[in-house]
């Protein structure tokens, strides 16, 4: 933290970067619905943890909102049909943005089906005990909608011996291009507050803080006007800086606490949720619905009609891009934000629960990153960018000589959450983050082999 930041009243963390936001194209556009695609692809492993298990059979008719898969374990969630239609197959291998093909359910949409959710019942959520709330959250199929897709109910059950006293709601949206959380805070404010109250009840937390970056004053004002009178929920402005929305960074900014190395936020009594997750919970739980659609920002210069769209989960990427129109000379499609998202090689991947944005870059935009890599000049730019105060320069040099064990044991490789700040600032264009991801993948493989 520099001297200037110490005296500043804006809450923030040390280090980090300021990428160009590119949010103006979609920030003012209200959330709109997309029509149904003719065929929906619902992968059974959209979340972290065990894949879901199909509970429907081929040829079965399903209605919008009906459960079609049950959780495959505790760290797993069920799936719900995004459309009314008929199940065409249940174990087709489909492409994913991450690479390996995974089994998915294919559902043929009935042409006349409408957007009304047919599978629901009103539930009196105010009467539920914390344990029942956790079960209800799991039954809704809710995962972290910020991009990690970690099952939400798992975070509601902190490990034994710790209790959550503060719930932090992440409304930073520090990724360039993305504006879905911004629109959710503006348009679904009531549902957002309701969702936060339910989560507070489930973890028996006393207070909740919503962190909003100061480039979204309208969202901040809207939330301020709707906060409950009892003062249990507060809203705070934080500095516009990447990666402000990362769990550990936001805790640091708002509470001035640090999550221990290798630990979880629960260990210091904090749970962090995304605003999108909270707004969806506030919408789904009172009606016992499942998660079947999410807000996705479609942006970038390769898109003709950028905007924030409510997309049914399982819609093929190709269909979304047909709807918004694509310029001919696009060169790169990123699922998620440009900093932490996944470049996808195939248009046949489905929009899953963890996809917060689709960014289509035109050739000149993508080319600005020159491919030539120069040797490290030891300038230390990455050290003053790393929000976790790691040593990316040293880690990178160890990665080049393939000393992956030392990276883990001596330089805290596993604390790196791959935000990409080091690669972004490196004047030698060294793909540091990619090196670290390779190192982690190899270390994981070695550990599996040793077991």
């Amino acid at each position: 933290m520099t001297l200037l930041e110490r005296f500043s009243t804006r809450k923030t963390f040390g280090h980090g970067i300021h990428p160009i936001a590119h949010k103006e194209a979609t920030a003012e556009l209200a959330i709109r619905r997309l029509p149904f695609a003719k065929q929906m692809i619902v992968p059974l492993a959209q979340h972290l943890g065990a894949p879901a298990k199909a509970i429907v059979s081929v040829g079965q008719e399903v209605v919008r909102g009906e459960p079609i898969a049950e959780p495959g374990g505790f760290v797993s969630v069920p799936m719900h049909s995004p459309v009314t239609g008929v199940v065409k197959s249940i174990d087709t291998l489909v492409a994913t943005a991450s690479g390996p093909k995974t089994p998915a359910m294919i559902i043929d949409t009935y042409t006349a089906s409408d957007q009304k959710v047919l599978f629901e019942c009103t539930a009196d959520i105010r009467q539920l005990s914390p344990a029942e709330l956790v079960r209800a959250v799991q039954a809704s199929g809710m995962v972290g909608l910020g991009g990690a897709a970690f099952p939400s109910h798992v975070k509601l059950l902190p490990p034994e011996g710790v209790s959550i006293d503060t719930v932090i709601i992440n409304g930073c949206e520090c990724e360039p291009y993305l504006t879905c959380d911004h629109r959710i805070m503006l348009e679904y404010t009531d549902k957002l507050i309701l969702g936060i109250q339910m989560v507070m009840e489930a973890v028996t937390a006393k207070r909740a803080i919503i962190g909003v970056e100061d480039n979204k004053p309208d969202a901040f004002a809207m939330i301020q006007s709707k906060l409950p009178k009892d003062g249990s929920i507060s809203c705070e402005l934080v500095e516009t800086k990447y990666p402000q929305g990362a769990e550990k960074m936001l805790i640091n900014s708002l509470l001035n606490k640090e999550v221990p190395s290798g630990g979880l936020p629960a260990e210091i009594g904090v749970a962090v949720y995304n605003v999108g997750t909270m707004a969806q919970l506030g919408d789904l739980l009172p009606q016992s619905r499942g998660l079947i659609e999410r807000v996705v920002t479609v942006s970038g210069y390769g898109v003709n009609k950028p905007g924030n769209y409510l997309v049914p989960i399982g819609t093929p990427l190709r269909f979304v891009l047909e709807q918004v129109g694509l310029k001919d000379d696009f060169s790169k499609i990123i699922m998620g934000g440009p900093m932490m998202g996944m470049t996808t090689a195939s248009l046949d991947v489905a929009i899953t629960k963890g996809v917060s944005g689709i960014v289509v870059l035109e050739a000149p935009e993508a080319k600005s990153e020159t491919p030539q890599v120069f040797p490290c000049i030891k300038c230390g730019a990455c050290l003053s960018a790393c929000p976790l105060y790691l040593n990316p320069s040293m880690l990178g040099q160890l990665a080049m000589v393939r000393d992956y064990q030392k990276m883990e044991s001596a330089y805290h490789l596993n604390d790196c959450f791959e935000c990409g700040c080091c690669s972004y600032v490196c004047p030698s264009n060294i793909p540091l983050t990619q090196y670290f991801r390779i190192a982690k993948a190899i270390n994981r493989k070695i550990k599996v082999k040793q077991l």
């Binding site: 087709t92 291998l93 492409a95 943005a97 991450s98 690479g99 390996p100 093909k101 996944m342 470049t343 996808t344 090689a345 195939s346 491919p371 890599v373 793909p431 990619q434 090196y435 991801r437 390779i438 993948a441 190899i442 493989k445 070695i446 082999k449």
Partner: protein, 291 residues
Amino acid sequence: MGELTSNLIAIAFMAGLGLILAGILVLANKRLYVHEDPRIDDIEELLPAANCGACGSPGCRPFAEGLINGTFEPSRCTVNTEESVRIIADYLGVDAGETNKKVARLACAGGKHVALIRASYSGLNSCRGAALVSGGGKGCAWGCLGMGDCAVVCDFNAITIDKHGLPIVDEGKCTACGNCVDVCPKDLFKLHSIEHRLFVACKNLEKGDEPKTECELVCTACERCVVDSPEGLITLGNHLAVINYDKNSLASPIAVEHCPTGAIVWLDNRGGYRTGKACKPTIRKKPLPIG
């Protein structure tokens, strides 16, 4: 006390200190001496000093210790010449053990001329890195990316990347150390006994003819090889032909004759392979266009 005396005191003091410390070192050398079998050094001399890890121990010296303890058989070292193995066995007075030469084999034949590349990857020139970006952009999610991580890690220069972007293993040089097996992000390499001549060079688990659009040399699980070969030699598992190498003695080139794509091959002992008559020949020499 002149200058001379003080100089003498200094010299005497340093000499005394040196003697005392030397005495401690002599004592330590006697009292803390670790007895080490002299045979370890002798055997280490006879080992190839490649420290490749193929035997399962971290390097050649631990392997030599293992030989003396009896945990390993001399033939466990696949890098060593047969003669050296025999000398070690004679020296230790143990059985050399069975030598079964193994080689690494790549379960993919989808070079750039037959397998579709969906999206071009630019960045770190490494299969490991490319595999993290949407699987590397190859149409077949199981296929070889051809950037040669395996050739880089091979300590014995046994792997070269051919013009179609496929690693070729030189069976003569390969010592089955397993470095390529560990580094391949798609887990395409596997150690096989050199006796295994019938081989399925594909790992695509997709059903039916669909993957044919992605690669011309894909196993479509049509079952022709299963029908043509003796009972139990080839089975179908996960939409892929699986060879039961326990019945390797029954294997013959007949199994590959009717394969329509050439995914199952008969490897000859000169490093080449043959496909069946029914297989459509690949005459394309250049890579397929990207898209």
